[in-house]
Symmetry: C2
Subunit: 205 residues, 2 copies
C-alpha cells in the first residue's frame, strides 16, 4: 500500500486477530470449551449497550465501549492471567505494560498513544467510565459461571470470600447492578455452585 498510515492501521487490525486464540479460564455457557478474549470483549461491548441505563450518569458510554473492546489486547503477548492466580498476578503489570508498548506501537503514533491511554485508563479504574467497564468485566464471568453450574469456581475451589472480593468493584462502578450480583451469588450458593461463606464465629479457648 502506498498510504503508510493506513498500512500501519491494517497491520494492527491483522495483528489483533491473535486475541481470538488467547484462552480465558471462563467456559462458554454451554460448557463446550473455554472462552477466548476476543469473544469475551465482544460480550462486554454488548453488555455496555444492553445495560447502559444502569450506568452512572457520568459514564461516557461510547468511551466505556471502546475500553472494553481493547482492555484485553495486551494478552496477545502477556497471555490471560487468571484472576485467582496469585503467583502470575505478581508479574502481570510488567508483562502487560511491555505488550501494550509493542502492540499500540504498531499503530500511527497519535492513534497508538490514544489507545495506550485508553487502556491505562481502564487499568487505573479511576474514571466513572473505567469503573463501569470494570464492573461489566466482573459480571460477565459470574453469569457464565452460574450458567455452567459453578464453572471455574468449582474447578479451582474458589471460595465465597474470593468471589466477593473479585466482585467488589461492581458496587462502586455500577451501583445499580450490585443487587443483581448479590442475588446471583446467593442463587449460586443455594444451587450448590459455590460454597457458602465460612461461619465467622471463632472457636473458643
Amino acid at each position: 500500500m502506498n498510504n503508510y498510515r493506513l498500512n500501519q492501521q491494517i497491520q494492527f487490525i491483522v495483528e489483533i486477530d491473535k486475541l481470538k486464540t488467547v484462552l480465558r479460564q471462563t467456559m462458554l455457557t454451554d460448557g463446550s470449551r473455554r472462552e477466548n478474549s476476543g469473544e469475551h470483549s465482544w460480550h462486554l461491548a454488548m453488555m455496555t449497550m444492553i445495560l447502559a441505563e444502569y450506568a452512572p450518569s457520568e459514564v461516557d458510554l461510547f468511551h466505556a465501549m471502546k475500553m472494553v473492546l481493547i482492555h484485553d489486547l495486551v494478552e496477545i503477548d502477556a497471555g490471560d492471567t487468571f484472576c485467582f492466580d496469585i503467583q502470575n498476578n505478581k508479574s502481570k503489570a510488567q508483562r502487560e505494560a511491555a505488550a501494550a508498548k509493542r502492540l499500540f506501537g504498531i499503530l500511527p503514533e497519535n492513534q497508538g498513544k490514544e489507545l495506550h491511554l485508553l487502556w491505562e485508563e481502564f487499568e487505573a479504574r479511576e474514571t466513572p467510565s473505567a469503573k463501569f467497564a470494570a464492573a461489566l468485566d466482573r459480571i460477565q464471568p459470574m453469569l457464565n459461571n452460574k450458567a455452567t453450574k459453578g464453572g471455574t469456581w468449582q474447578l479451582y475451589n474458589i471460595t465465597h470470600e474470593q468471589v466477593m472480593k473479585r466482585m467488589a468493584p461492581v458496587e462502586e462502578g455500577a451501583p445499580q447492578l450490585w443487587n443483581l450480583v448479590q442475588e446471583t451469588i446467593e442463587e449460586c450458593i443455594a444451587a450448590g455452585y459455590l460454597q457458602p461463606p465460612k461461619s465467622t464465629t471463632t472457636t473458643q479457648g
Copy 2:
C-alpha cells in the same frame, strides 16, 4: 431477581453467548480454525475504532459500532450463511427475520424494538452508518483471506468476479478504503491466492 426488566436483559446477555459457537467460513489469520461470529463482531467493532477517520462525515460512529456488534446475532438461530452459497442465501432473509423476532423478543419491549430496528438498518444498507458498517464487514474477511494465503477463496474456488462483486459495497460505504481493497486484491492475485480475472476477450467464430 425481583427486577423483571433487568431479568429480561440478563437473560438476553446469557442467550447471546451462543454466538460464540456459530462458525463462519473465514479462518483465523493463523489458519488454526474457523472464526466464530462473536469474535468476528468484536473485530469489526475494533475496525470501526481504528478506521474511524476514513468514515464519511455523515457516519455516526457509535451507532455504526452498535450495528456491527449486533449484526450477526440472528445467526444464533439461523446459522451463518456463506456469502457465496447461492442455495442457502435464498432462504436467508426468512430464517433471519424469525431469529430476530425471537432473540430481540427476549429483551424488554422498547429495547428489543430498538435493537430490531438497528439490525434492520444494517440489513437495508441505506444509511451512511449502515453502509460503513457493511464495508467493514466486507474488508475483514478479505484481510483474513489474504493472511491465510487465499483462505475460503481457495477452498471454494471463488472467482475474482465473485470477490469483486462481494467487495463492491466498500466503494460506496467507505470510498476512502476502496483503494485499499483494490490493492489488496491485486496483491492476492500476484501472490497466487486468488485467480486473476478471466480475459474478457470473446472467442471468434
